[in-house]
Amino acid sequence: MTKPPSNNPLPNKERIKLPRQRVPEQDPQVRAHNFQEVNLGFPAEQARQESLRCIECNKPGCIDLCPVSVNVRAVIDLILAGDYLGAASKVREDNALPAITGRVCPVEDQCESGCVLGKKGEPVGIAYLERFVADWERETGQFGSPVAAPATGKKVGLIGSGPASLACAGDLIQMGHQVHVFEALHELGGVLVYGIPEFRLPKDIVRHEIDVLRRRGVVFETNVVVGKTVTIDELMQEEGFNAIFIATGAGLPRFLNVPGEHFNGVYSANEFLTRVNLMRAYRFPEYDEPLYPCQDRDVIVVGGGNTAMDAVRSALRLGAKSASIYYRRTEKEMPARVEEVHHAKDEGVHFEMLVNPVEFLGDEKGNLTSVKCIRQELGEPDDSGRRSPVPIKGSEFVVPCHVAIIAAGTSANPLIQSTTPGLAVTKRGYIAAKEDTLATSKPGVFAGGDIVTGGATVILAMGAGRKAAKAINEYLKGLDEPKPEQAQATVQA
């Protein structure tokens, strides 16, 4: 296959000598005390410099490892041509929310881990480039709204407004269907608004993406808890929805089930982050929602994922005297994005590995005062090959702590499953959906995102949304075709 003409003037051997561009960031000392975005993003010149590094592989590993196969090589070439809007449109062909994924994708496990330059040096900064074109598009107020297919008259209900649902909505509206999104909370965006903090993903960006969808005709209805306010059967039988996509996320917080978890100051990460992000408790009393004070106090976050990093860095910004991560395994096993771990360290977060809380201790008023932990070591590898931590006898210790935030994962919220007859669930309570179409056991009902996979990533949720949109489109087409037995009947008549 011959390569298309390239906009890169440099020979390959020059390109690989170029160093990876460092993205400008807020100073760690300053940003540890504010909620403004940490990464400032590439200016155009840096985006060009970084793009020049790409050697335009024949078989680009970056595209292979992108969960939605964004045509990275073509995007980079358009940046070099100076056609930023074209580059943004190119990303949007496969990824509906580039300004968001460019900020939150675990790229070190995806596109950037597939980049050939990473074999010897550092990979191309693909996420920063994606973010650059998406921000450029938004900041210059340009948006190449694609032309939608003619109206089909079919109505699809999407439940939840996280990335799975937003991606699905974008595709369905494009296919000419009516799209109605139901969200339980008062704000749209799912984890993007209630979980991921402002300093990592400014809410204005999420709001912008939703506005774009609204302008394209998607109807959003907040304050509707499907299963409570209205059921799926009612939506289909009484409100005329032809198909439903369930994308309600993995919303149930897991606690540790150790003594003392009821003390004031012990939070689930979901609650802590919801208060801070969705309810803007960091701006109390301008905003009414209160937060148990972190100011000048010791805060411990239990867990090692993105949620834990977001919580601990929020606590720091709220003025914590000390903000620590307590994780039961070692740093190597921490599921958080590498960049977030670096950022947390630069900001002064303390990391304590191979420890597990066994009890929370409080005073007579019911307020948390300290945590009793036990040290652990990695044991023999289990069936999955992972070495599970085992407690070391007699290694218990007590640390002072006023706020403890538990980020030990989430599970499926049973609300929809328990109110929708005929909807099959997995052993762990997630919704069972077919791998290829995301169809559930209930005709016309599809499901995707964290409610099917368990807590995963933004980009995987978006991929599921797109897959579902395709399958829903096929399903809706099928509704208009005469059923096989009817066709038979006509022939006989």
Binding site: A184, R215, V224, T229, G251, N264, P290, G366
Partner: protein, 300 residues
């Protein structure tokens, strides 16, 4: 955006609102609640649904001004808007034919107990209501309660209306005088705890409706957790009704005090200039209403 179609004072510091919320009006059952957020900077608070009219698409709630949000809410009038109302949340109260039931309620709790009392009566139970308040001017829905009860006792702490005394004293006498199959207690936590202490040794099934602090109301945050039978339960989805004998009221009270300091700050700020807060709410919500109209118009 949810319109207040009726607002009337019920008692000192207690106001009744009828709110347009067709989806909720259609689905709600006694014992369920809503969560409201008054305006853009508002917190989310749970309020029990006191009544509903599915035809008119309205729900009724009774609000006692105790914190910043309820104080501000009670300044609202007919024609005002509430930014967010979501529900119906929680499990409906269990309504069966139990036999003789006693419904004990204190102050604004009476408004919350009333719909359940009414349904208990409809289900064929004998309903004895014991309604209490600190004084006469804090008493609500007395006539409504009388209308659905076989026997009603009204008590005030200061004797300014009905009998002088505590609801628990009256309950004790009722329990001694006849066989009771179910007790329902709704009101301040100390009152519910006192009822539980009375009925638990007698083995009488007793239900309390718990008012823990909530955020989402869908099981997502765990902030509403209460200790029931020594295990953590989420009041918003597992409740709000629980078996009184198993509830740890101490922990409930401690958790309900969690944000005391902040609550005081908010109240002070509101009281410094209540008019300004009200004006801000009205202006903001009017802006939201305009924006919504614009979106709807663009879809037509």
């Amino acid at each position: 955006m949810f319109e207040i179609v009726e607002a009337r004072p019920l008692a000192r510091g207690i106001k009744q609102f009828v709110i347009k919320a067709p989806r909720i009006a259609k689905k709600q059952r006694p014992g369920q609640f809503i969560i409201v957020r008054l305006d853009e900077s508002g917190e989310r608070i749970p309020l029990t649904i006191a009544d509903a009219d599915p035809q008119a698409g309205t729900i009724t709630i009774c609000v006692q001004a105790i914190g910043k949000t309820t104080m501000l809410m009670n300044m609202l009038e007919k024609g005002d808007f509430i930014l967010d109302v979501v529900g119906p949340l929680g499990k409906p109260s269990e309504i069966e034919q139990f036999g003789t039931t006693v419904v004990v309620s204190g102050s604004v709790g009476t408004a919350m107990a009333y719909p359940t009392a009414r349904e208990l009566k409809r289900a064929g139970n004998k309903v004895v209501s014991i309604v209490g308040a600190r004084s006469k001017d804090l008493l609500v829905l007395e006539d409504e309660v009388r209308a659905v009860s076989d026997k009603t006792y009204v008590l005030t702490d200061d004797g300014s209306w009905g009998e002088k005394g505590l609801v628990t004293e009256r309950l004790k006498q009722v329990l001694e005088s006849c066989k009771v199959d179910l007790v329902l207690a709704v009101g301040p936590v100390p009152m519910m705890r006192a009822v539980a202490n009375l009925t638990a040794p007698l083995g009488i099934k007793t239900i309390v409706s718990l008012n823990s602090i909530m955020v989402d109301g869908t099981g997502m945050c765990g902030g509403c957790r209460v200790l029931v039978n020594n295990s953590s339960q989420f009041a918003c989805v597992d409740g709000p009704d629980f078996d009184a004998a198993q509830v740890n009221f101490e922990v409930l009270m401690q958790r309900n005090n969690m944000y005391r300091e902040q609550e005081r700050t908010s109240i002070e700020l509101l009281q410094a200039d209540p008019g300004a807060e009200l004006k801000k709410l009205r202006e903001e919500n009017a802006r939201h209403a305009c924006a919504l109209d614009a979106v709807e118009a663009s879809h037509d």
